[in-house]
């Protein structure tokens, strides 16, 4: 029995020892995998001839890839002749036309990309070749943007990193590098002021000034890799991605159907494309600022509808402005502003909905949305007036109280004086 226990113990001990050695070897291999020798970097750093845009934080370098992963060669050899030999696959600086293919070597390989970023899409290269950029590059036109023009070559960062050239806030400037180039713009008949127009737009102000990444950058409308100018059929859908109600109302309106037949863009006619300013109630109506009068003449149905919509909106807007002024006064006086604020919020909600409803181009629908807003705004004004009256009442009350106090003070004083005498 003792012998049997001895044998079992011996077997377990030997198995454990082998298992430990095996585990140690595996761990060591894994560790060495993450630290691949990169002699290219060592020599180019020593010789101070690293690429101009080289940054140590480059996402590929950080993930353990080497220079050879893109440029080929043998990064483990200290001999530069071996390290940069064509036999070892060294390609040097890749030609621009080859760049999408080079990046796609990994980025189009779903199995490979899963190891680094399982959620990353792997159709960028195929999308790219559907874009004007990709199609032109295929034709040999190197004026267009390839991967490195937007992402850089050696300072690549994920798009959610604020340092990245493709981070939402930085995208407009990245696109402007080429699209703001006057020579290129002239050559291809493009507008070189797109960036300035965008900067002045509601979207540009939100994104560039307020750093609100919820606001659209160039790629949100034009696409990322499959960048094409939005076509006639897609423009309202592009805007409708965010402005859903406006799009639905417009597409189901009489105007929407008619415009489609006429081949109009939709949103752009009134709101412009890049220089989209904050919509104003004067956009609709019969004044010189209104877009409606560009097509509708006095007396026709559209003219009357525009007039009626404008009148409804201005009525509510004026009441809201009045209520806001009174609310500011109430707050200045330190009076109760809670109910006024609630009513004003209701009125504000109604005017937002009414302005959206404008896209139905149906004056009765707009009126129906405006109605509760008018009631709420009037309620706010009434309450504000009552608070302002109360404020005056308090001050008058104080004046009356002071008068009474004064009478008593004088009486006491006279009494004291009389006693003194």
């Amino acid at each position: 029995m003792k012998k049997l226990i001895g044998i079992i113990t011996l077997v377990f001990t030997i198995s454990f020892a082998f298992a430990s050695v095996n585990y140690a070897a595996t761990t060591a291999n894994k560790k060495s995998d993450t630290k691949v020798k990169n002699t290219c970097l060592n020599c180019h750093t020593e010789n101070e001839n690293l690429p101009e845009d080289f940054k140590k934080y480059d996402v590929h370098l950080a993930a353990g890839l080497t220079c050879a992963s893109c440029h080929g060669g043998d990064p483990t050899s200290d001999d530069d002749a071996v390290a940069m030999s064509k036999k070892k696959g060294f390609i040097g600086v890749p030609a621009k036309k080859d760049i999408p293919k080079l990046c796609g070597k990994c980025h189009s390989d779903i199995r490979f990309m899963r190891k680094y970023n399982p959620r990353m899409e792997t159709d960028q290269v195929s999308q790219y070749f559907t874009s004007v950029h990709g199609m032109q590059l295929k034709k040999g036109n190197t004026d267009v943007a390839a991967c490195t023009d937007c992402h850089t070559a050696h300072a690549i960062l994920p798009p959610n990193d604020p340092r990245s050239t493709v981070y939402a806030v930085n995208v407009p400037q990245t696109c402007d590098k080429c699209h703001g180039n006057k020579e290129l713009a002239k050559k291809y008949g493009l507008d070189p002021n797109v960036y300035n127009d965008y900067k002045a737009s509601v979207h540009g102000k939100d994104l560039l000034e307020k750093k609100d990444t919820g606001a659209p950058a160039c790629n949100d409308c034009h696409g990322n890799h499959g960048a094409v100018p939005p076509g006639v059929k897609s423009i309202d859908l592009v805007c409708g991605e965010c402005h859903v109600n406006n799009m639905n109302y417009f597409m189901n309106s009489k105007m929407g159907v008619a415009w489609k037949e006429l081949g109009y863009h939709g949103c752009v006619e009134c709101h412009s494309n890049h220089k989209i300013i904050k919509p104003q109630d004067d956009f609709v109506g019969t004044s010189d600022k209104a877009f409606c009068v560009k097509c509708h003449d006095e007396g026709d149905e559209g003219y009357n509808v525009a007039k009626s919509i404008h009148s409804s909106l201005t009525k509510l807007d004026t009441l809201i402005k009045q209520a806001k002024e009174k609310l500011a006064k109430v707050r200045k006086f330190g009076m109760d502003d809670l109910d006024i604020s609630y009513s004003l919020k209701e009125a504000h909600q109604a005017i937002v909905q009414s302005r959206t409803e404008v896209h139905t181009f149906d004056s009765s629908k707009v009126k129906a949305k405006v109605k509760p807003g008018i009631e709420a705004a009037r309620k706010a004004i009434k309450k504000a007036d009552s608070e302002i009256r109360e404020y005056s009442f308090r001050r008058n009350g104080y004046a009356a109280a002071t008068l009474i106090f004064l009478v008593f003070i004088v009486l006491f004083y006279l009494k004291i004086k009389k006693k003194k005498d």
């Binding site: 330190g334 104080y398 002071t402 003070i409 004291i416 006693k419």
Partner: protein, 359 residues
Amino acid sequence: MKEIITKIDKWLDERYDTSSLKEFIAHKKVPVHKHSIWYYFGGITLFLLTVQIITGILLLMYYKPGENSSYESVRYIVTQVHFGWLIRSVHSWSANLMIFAAFLHMFSVFFTRAYEKPRELTWVTGFLALALALGFGFSGYLLPWDDLAFFATKVGTEIVGVVPVIGEPIKFLLRGGEDVTGATLSRFFAIHVAVLPILILTLVGIHLLFIQKQGMHEPESFKALPEEKKKYISFFPDFALRDFLVWLVVFNILIFLAVYFPWKLGPKADPFSSAPAGIKPEWYFLFMFQTLKFLPGHILFLEGELVGILAFGLGGLLWMLFPFIPFKNKPQAKITPQALIGIFIIVYMVVLTILGYIL
């Protein structure tokens, strides 16, 4: 009218023999001299305490303590209850004016050396009553349960926790748990409306009793006058009439402040929100708060904040026991060491308070 009063007086006298009390009132005199004005500040403090009690009782009729009702009830008081806004504002302003008047009263007593023998215990009871008034301020500040109140209490109770050994248990006891919650609100309410009123009324009662027993203090310059040059007025009705006149003026100022600068009610306290920027305690705690902010992280082997708290604790104790500290005053000296100490304390408090507001 006079007849009715005489009848009531006779009725009371037959039963309780009020002759000694009448005699006491008739003979109570108040000295008249160039420092007489300071006599009024004790009376003003007492008047404002009475305002506090009355307005406090009125507020109690509508105030509902609780995490979900404190803020709402205060809001109800200031927006819906008739003159609720006035009562709440008067209560808040009066609290601040009372503490200010108490400070003036204390320093006037200090500089006229009215705390000296035989009035040492009057000084001690007065000091304790002021400490309780500060406690009233601290506990009452939380009751509206708005954001400023919540975070000020959080910071205030946090400071208590710095004291070694007893700090943490006291903090836990005050808060009714680890953090400022509805439990803190309940106990601050109990302290504010039950514990502190009993204590302060007892102390003020003793304080007044001592004053009645020993009479008004006469400054050295007055005592040195020959008897025929000493001027007095009777407490009742002469001094009382003047007192009433001053109280009327103070009350008018109080109403003015309440009407023109109504006490604010911020947004409801939200324990999960971040503290409002530049959070500061009430002005009467500001000199201590600012000192703690100025102190370095460590002084020798102790935490700077702890050194500050211990110093204020020790300072307060010495100030309370000041009448018992012997000083050797040179008769020819222009200024006494006591006066120098008093001036230093006032300058320190004023400068640090101003810095607290501007920094």
